[in-house]
Symmetry: C3
Subunit: 325 residues, 3 copies
């Protein structure tokens, strides 16, 4: 995992000490065990530990590498209390996540998020972003705080880029939205007031070409990642925490749901859906209009919904269409 | 149905008296029967009667509650003449609708619709809209005449909102278009010149979260409705006259066609299509990539296209994929 | 094919003589045969020959009408050398195309494309476009160089129009992008640096109504074409070189991939995909959620994926769902 400085994008609102965590979480707390009194100003994920942070665990996890001297665990799984010295067991992990993240950070889905813009050549460019001098930006764009854009990149018109690190020679076409809010919330408690704050970013590597009217949601805690040389057509939706390797090719109107992992050199047709926390191996080809719901191993060619080997899919199709079967 | 003042959004162009209706509709008229000479300045629907209005009936309808003293019926069904005192039978209901609505109202799909804007903080805000003072609006937005937005709502960047009543704590993400023109026209007479003017609105209740690059078309005569606490992901299309209850959850790239009714607490996966004038009961779950073409009764879980009970869908799938069948 | 002046949209960067082509293409050249020394400033397609041009041939083609005195052929098929006096055989046609087109023209996917805008009424209007005086344009639009828009047309808000000829009475709704970059590149060499420059345009005829959040990619060399009176709903994607006849009707979220040809009076439901270099005959009806991968002959009604006659599709469906089959 690549480190990034969260406060470049999400300014710190206030920090707190873990000795105050019971008071902070109130009736959510079932049990609290603290050896260290940690000054918390960050959130960790299982992929990327950060000092002075909280990590949220939604499964039982004995053999983690969590450094308990600077990370406090919060979990809704009571058994986790046996593995950690610094842990709070809570009733609802979503509610707790929201309480803590909304205390620590400013973000755009809550009133009070601030940015300041210069109006340059018809677009709003944050005073706190870092754009190489020969980047070309069209009209009616918004480039928000913390964003970096590498040399020779071209941002067309009416593009919104927030919470993103963009490489060199990247082209982003008209009306696309990068770094938007991921779709994360508690199914039992719906509505904007219960949205899980999304405090991750988007990383787009060099030479990526992204079409028009695309949406790339930022990571929840870490990032959404588009590897080098990827070619992405119009109206493609890439959800939070998706990781895609180099040379990914995606045709129009495909949607990739949260946390899907795509290997290098994968080719995906138009109007495909990928859902579930699945992994797509290297060199896989996914035919147009497929619905992929399971891991696909490297070098496969799949089709259909649920997607299976394309030869089997074609055989099934012929059988289904022979009269009498 | 909730009443709204149409002229807040669609200024009145001119009214007329029903005694002049034969002259106005010319060769469209088959038969005219008038007891009252009504001053017409409004359009009614079967769901919402308005005084001094025309109502268009496309089916035979004996037992309606139409108050015939202030509503004049126009229908292409000759039998309807037996049930109403104030009625005109016409050849083509679409043509007649267009003639009358284009006479009564200014709307944005015809030259001459006017609005006046202030340019505030990078966005165009109509002088005739009503936005609570602590609403946050990003850059490059357009908020048109008649729009109301409740307190604490957040409108991100490059968002267009027209003909809409938006509640409190609503979040609308980048590049979305709310209150756009519904897809209504005569199949036999295509082209922008024959578009049925859409003179309804969009109502979005409190705490709704709407993603990026979504489109919500306004109602044809009444409204498109998104109930409280609904969570809507990116690239979702909601057509004219759709009514959805509280706590609706819709994943990315789903499309809901005109006049679909969705009950409370419904969960809809990504890339789903709902079409036809159908009703989805409370607590229904619709799996990703389903195509729903019939009513779904409450508490069902459905999948596939055409969508059926998810258990049956899975059994069918297994059968189809067993060799030899 | 209709002629258009490419330099209105893509200014000429520099021209060259075919005697220098071996030097220009370097190691790409396998064989060069030149009778004429042509001054090249244009690109031809098989549909539209232009004087002083290069034409790229990716198949063996004996009986073409290529006028060899002003057109130089470049092909990766060695046999083509037998049919033409002015021809260069190359290793990789994509690489060669990119080299030549990037030498001849400025385009928006490479640094250095220039346009100059007036800011009129909240939108950026190129100094080099031609818009009839009574056209209505909303806020936050970008209308780029070369664009023409006919009388009475209405362009709503946040619309981007580039490289397009738009007729009269055309309505284009909010957040749509017209004339965007087509998805053309070498599958073996991915990334923005290897994008095939798209130097064609979009032609939209009179009375077309195009919904919100649509994307219409410009042609690669010639054009993408939307015939008179076509009605297109929201979030429809139309790829490069698509040709659609008059009175096409397309419901929301449908995608049409590159070079599909659609006859007159075709009706296409929502969430349909059309892919492959296929032809759809006149008066065809394609049911919602169909995936069309083969030519469809005129007057057909099709459904399913791959799309077949709708009656057969329904019969298959019933059979599949009868227990025991």
């Amino acid at each position: 995992m690549r480190k990034f400085k969260r406060s470049d994008f999400f300014p710190t609102k206030s920090n707190f000490y873990t000795k105050s965590i019971v008071k902070l979480l109130e009736e959510e707390v079932i049990l609290n065990k603290s050896i260290n009194n940690i000054e918390v100003n960050e959130i960790s994920s299982l992929s990327l530990f950060r000092n002075n942070s909280i990590i949220f665990l939604e499964k039982e996890l004995e053999n983690s590498n969590i450094n308990s001297n600077s990370i406090h665990v919060i979990s809704n799984i009571e058994n986790n209390k046996n593995y950690y010295n610094d842990i709070t067991i809570v009733k609802n992990l979503n509610t707790t996540y929201n309480l803590i993240v909304n205390k620590l950070f400013f973000h755009e889905d809550q009133n009070g998020y601030l940015d300041e813009f210069n109006y340059i050549n018809g677009s709003f460019i944050s005073k706190y972003c870092n754009i190489e001098s020969n980047v070309e930006i069209g009209r009616n764009c918004v480039i928000s705080r913390g964003v970096k854009i590498g040399k020779n990149s071209i941002i067309k018109n009416n593009v919104v880029i927030k919470n993103s690190l963009i490489g060199s020679n990247v082209v982003i076409c008209d009306n696309s939205s990068i770094g938007t809010t991921g779709f994360g919330f508690d199914f039992e408690k719906r509505g904007s007031l219960f949205l899980n704050p999304q405090i991750g970013i988007v990383i787009i590597e060099d030479n990526v070409h992204l079409g028009s009217c695309c949406t790339v949601d930022r990571g929840k805690i870490d990032y959404t990642f588009i590897g080098k040389n990827s070619m992405i057509d119009n109206m493609v939706h890439i959800a939070h925490n998706v990781i895609m390797g180099v040379n990914t090719c995606i045709a129009a109107q495909t949607g990739i749901s949260g946390s899907v992992e795509i290997g290098n050199n994968v080719t995906i047709g138009g109007q495909v859906g990928l859902a579930g926390h699945i992994k797509i191996g290297e060199n896989v080809v996914i035919a147009a209009r497929s619905g992929v719901t399971k891991n696909i191993k490297e070098n496969s060619v799949v089709a259909g919904f649920p997607a299976i080997d394309i030869k089997e899919w074609k055989r099934n199709l012929i059988r289904q269409r022979q009269h009498g079967h």
